[in-house]
Symmetry: C2
Subunit: 188 residues, 2 copies
Amino acid sequence: MAKLKRAERLEKFKEALQENPFLTDDQLAQLFQVSIQTIRLDRNILNIPQLRERTKEVAEKSFNGEIKSLESEEVIGQLLDVETGVSGISLFLIEPEHVFKRNYIARGHYLFAQANSLAIAIVDDVLALTTAANVFFDKQVKLGDNVIAKAKVTETTDKYIQVSVESFVNSELVFHATFEIYHRTDKK
Amino acid sequence: MAKLKRAERLEKFKEALQENPFLTDDQLAQLFQVSIQTIRLDRNILNIPQLRERTKEVAEKSFNGEIKSLESEEVIGQLLDVETGVSGISLFLIEPEHVFKRNYIARGHYLFAQANSLAIAIVDDVLALTTAANVFFDKQVKLGDNVIAKAKVTETTDKYIQVSVESFVNSELVFHATFEIYHRTDKK
């Protein structure tokens, strides 16, 4: 995209965020070929909060009524969508505490935690415990990435549910897993 | 064990902790058939710190010189032993923030994090990244449990290392996993 005057850019800026509310300042800066400082100023002018606040707004649409298997604040990342028994989507921002100090690569257990807690969240039962998992770290995830995890139930029996999760950064697959989850209708 | 007088109990108490320094107050209370309050008093008399402090003392034996693949404080749990390229042992106490609120069962990703970070720690190389994992949650782990993870390298090739981890609570297997870890001698 060629460099735009501020007025034009502000218009495009609003459109871009309407289309994808999860764009980071970094991605916006690249998109508009301006500095991150300029993007922050633009956000201020337009009164658009930073990504973390924006996703909180989305997440404020509480899923507490829909989720049975855990408290919604126990999901690692922010739930964007849940259809219990069927599927779910969550967003997790990779912040400094989630990466190895020496190379800024996200630590595996955070990707696991996002995927596993999303898998649990879509189980349509009050007790849901993971019994096994098959996990693949397909591509390095870095500080500042926002990871979108998509889970779907692939098999259901009386006692077990199988959930498959795929996680993406900028539409690229970075992680996938299959979880086998034991479920029951009482909490003990 | 029959109920003992305090003086006798204090002697046995010291012996028991010498044999297994990771006994919790709860386990000691069961062992000596007294209340946890009594155990705390006994500890005070003997000037024995609580488990968390005791394990810190063990962990103060720093492994920073031995571990190459991450900073030793990045290991989840407390490293008790490491022989890089061969094996390692760590301890993780299940505290309130590690369990589901409704049933006090430990959340899977903490057991995963303990095992995975231990597996990484024993890799004898500066770059070590998990590429895949096969994980089994064999038995529920509860609030207050102390989980001992034991890792060993089972296969090494030029690019990949396979590490098998078994985690125990009171000598019972609660979790086991196999990690496939990519390794390289530079940090990029």
